[in-house]
């Protein structure tokens, strides 16, 4: 079986080394740190593109850390899904970092770039690990970096939101350990592939404990993904942090979704016998409730950033529904929508910050007219159309794909009704927000900052994804089909991971 070459290890090691280097580069000043940080993310982007090409065709690549083979050691596994997540992270991180540099947000506190790189380290590690406990460790790495990033810049509101965010995630970590411990106690392994084997062989009296631990794990991942009823931390945290951090956090909720697809899809997949896909009705139901509440949140938001945070929540809920539908077509549609929603949400957060800078605030109240209102207004319309899923942009295609996949599900009437109703509510709310922001102006008030052209480039980069994903919809759906096909072949994944030999051994 193919072992992993060194390129496959780069997404994890690059940001870690870059983080340390940037910390040491402090003596060289902020500009040196910026340069190193941008270089590291650029390298990540190229590596991710290279890995994506290799990962779609062929077998998952396995890297045994310290040359300890699975299931005894920790392995990094790179398959199509992991490569896709690493690629999305790099695509999102570059403009977010560019925005932070061009608006000088990174100068508002110490160590922005170090934390940014460590965040990427945690994200890429979580996307590539094949070990449940190692997943916990990478979760902690990305969370600790995100605590620092969330609080970057300071301010009372940010501190309050940060306190809630940290407390809820510490509880999540504790529950994660309880779930992992219970699974280890029953199955005697931590390797995900080996867990899948052990669950299929588990005696009937152990199934109850395994199911309970699996649902506890779902709760933890649901907390990261902001699934009902554990979403209350998200709007405050995302609305109160700085714009580039909020943009990067668009991928943070997707970590929870990725973990559900990876861990639950693998361990409780086809081979799990009585427990096969026992979690999907929960995911579907919670996704539907989350979507409705997110739509209400979008309507009730008092400021643009809060509204975008609820739009992120709505996209997470749509993805949960896609996972809950539990079919290869639905998984492919989910992955398509995941690419779209991550990039557009990131772009929308940056755009919201530009608008807030232009008019002097992001609240939905009458304020000064902003400079370059036509350009920003047109961009807002574009982002709003993409985010709320209207034709002709990628949000529409993603939603149509998910709804088409839903037609084969017994509960398709409910799914269609909720998704379409939520979509309508969001369109109304976003249209209202646009008219409040751009038409309801006070001419006697001094306007805010002029538009920062270089920062605007970051918004264009991310929002261009919505148009590109329409033009390239056919190859992209082929890609997501291939990845979804890989994900449905769990026995092949399990066999590849468990049969990878040590380097130099037999």
């Amino acid at each position: 079986m193919s072992s992993m070459n060194i390129v496959s290890f780069l997404p994890v090691i690059t940001p870690l080394l870059a983080g340390v280097l940037i910390l040491l580069a402090r003596v060289g000043g902020l500009n040196l740190q910026r340069l190193l940080s941008l270089l590291s993310v650029l390298l990540l982007l190229f590596v991710a593109l290279d890995l994506m090409q290799n990962a779609v065709q062929g077998v998952p690549q396995v890297y045994a850390l310290g040359n300890w083979v699975a299931p005894f050691g920790i392995v990094l596994v790179l398959d199509g899904l992991s490569a896709l997540m690493v690629l999305i992270t790099a695509l999102l991180a570059l403009p977010a970092l560019w925005y932070a540099v061009t608006t000088k947000i990174d100068a508002r506190g110490a160590h922005f770039h170090v934390l940014f790189q460590l965040q990427l380290f945690g994200l890429n590690g979580a996307f590539m690990t094949g070990d449940v406990f190692n997943l916990f460790v990478f979760f902690e790495v990305l969370l600790l970096a995100s605590y620092g990033l969330l609080l970057h810049g300071g301010g009372a509101q940010r501190t309050k939101a940060g306190l809630h965010y940290v407390a809820i995630n510490l509880i999540g970590s504790t529950l994660f350990l309880f779930a992992v411990g219970a699974l280890y106690g029953v199955l005697g392994t931590l390797n995900m592939a080996d867990m899948a084997v052990k669950v299929s062989q588990a005696p009937a009296e152990d199934l109850g404990v395994i199911a309970a631990a699996g649902l506890l794990l779902l709760l933890v991942f649901g907390l990261k993904a902001a699934m009902f009823p554990l979403y209350l931390w998200l709007p405050q945290a995302y609305a109160n942090t700085s714009a580039p951090v909020a943009a990067l956090f668009a991928i943070m909720t997707k970590v929870g979704l990725y973990a559900i697809i990876r861990v639950h899809g693998l361990v409780f997949g086809d081979s799990a016998g009585e427990l096969a896909y026992f979690y999907t009705p929960w995911v579907l139901g919670m996704g539907l409730i989350t979507l409705l509440l997110a739509a209400f949140g979008v309507m009730a938001a008092r400021g643009l950033r809060e509204q975008v945070a609820y739009l992120v929540l709505a996209s997470v809920a749509t993805l949960l529904i896609g996972i809950g539908l539990n079919s290869v077509e639905a998984m492919s549609a989910t992955l398509f929508y995941l690419i779209h929603s991550t990039l557009i949400a990131g772009g929308f957060f940056l755009l919201a910050d530009l608008i807030a800078r232009g008019r002097g605030g992001e609240r939905f109240v009458s304020m000064a007219a902003m400079p370059q209102a036509v350009l920003l207004g047109a961009t807002f319309v574009f982002a709003a159309i993409a985010m709320s899923g209207l034709p002709p942009l990628s949000g529409f295609i993603g939603k149509v794909l998910i709804l088409m996949a839903a037609l084969n599900h017994p509960a398709f009437m409910l799914v269609l009704a909720v998704v379409l109703l939520a979509g309508l509510l969001m369109i109304i709310a976003v249209a209202r927000a646009g008219s409040l922001l751009f038409y309801n102006v006070q001419n006697d008030m001094p306007s805010g900052e002029p538009l920062n052209k270089s920062a605007y480039a970051a918004v264009v980069w991310l929002l261009a994804g919505a148009a590109l994903m329409v033009v390239l919809a056919h190859p992209l759906t082929q890609l997501t089909d291939a990845i979804a096909g890989q994900l449905s072949q769990t026995p092949f994944y399990v066999q590849t991971v468990l049969s990878t030999p040590a380097v130099g051994g037999t």
């Binding site: 009372a156 309050k160 407390a167 504790t174 350990l177 411990g181 280890y184 106690g185 931590l190």
Partner: protein, 112 residues
């Protein structure tokens, strides 16, 4: 021994949950710490409770102590320690910036 360990985990968890639900930051920090203790003991117990057995398989002995949960507990302790330290600093920062130690930044007068 099983009953004792189970009772310890239960009491620690219950106390932790109760304290985490309090309105001020200090009890919340204490509650999270107790929850972390509870999960450490739980992880430890998941390797099965044995006494006087070696961690490395020895044919002369009748069994062995599973060393993996102990490694997991060690990792979990280090992480929980770092997180608690961060949370305490953050709670102090919140006390300074918000002017009180309520988790929502409100004074008792606001709550009535």
């Amino acid at each position: 021994m099983e009953i004792l360990i189970a009772a310890i985990i239960g009491i620690l968890t219950a106390t932790g949950v109760f304290l985490t639900l309090r309105g001020h930051t200090f009890p919340v920090v204490l509650g999270l710490t107790l929850l972390a203790y509870a999960v450490n003991v739980f992880l430890f117990a998941m390797g099965r409770l044995t006494s006087g057995l070696p961690a490395v398989i020895n044919p002369a002995q009748g069994g062995y102590t599973d060393p993996l949960p102990q490694a997991l507990v060690l990792t979990a302790i280090v992480i929980a320690f770092g997180m608690t330290a961060f949370l305490i600093v953050l709670a102090l920062k919140a006390r300074g910036e918000l002017g009180n130690d309520h988790v929502d930044g409100r004074t008792d007068g606001d709550l009535k």
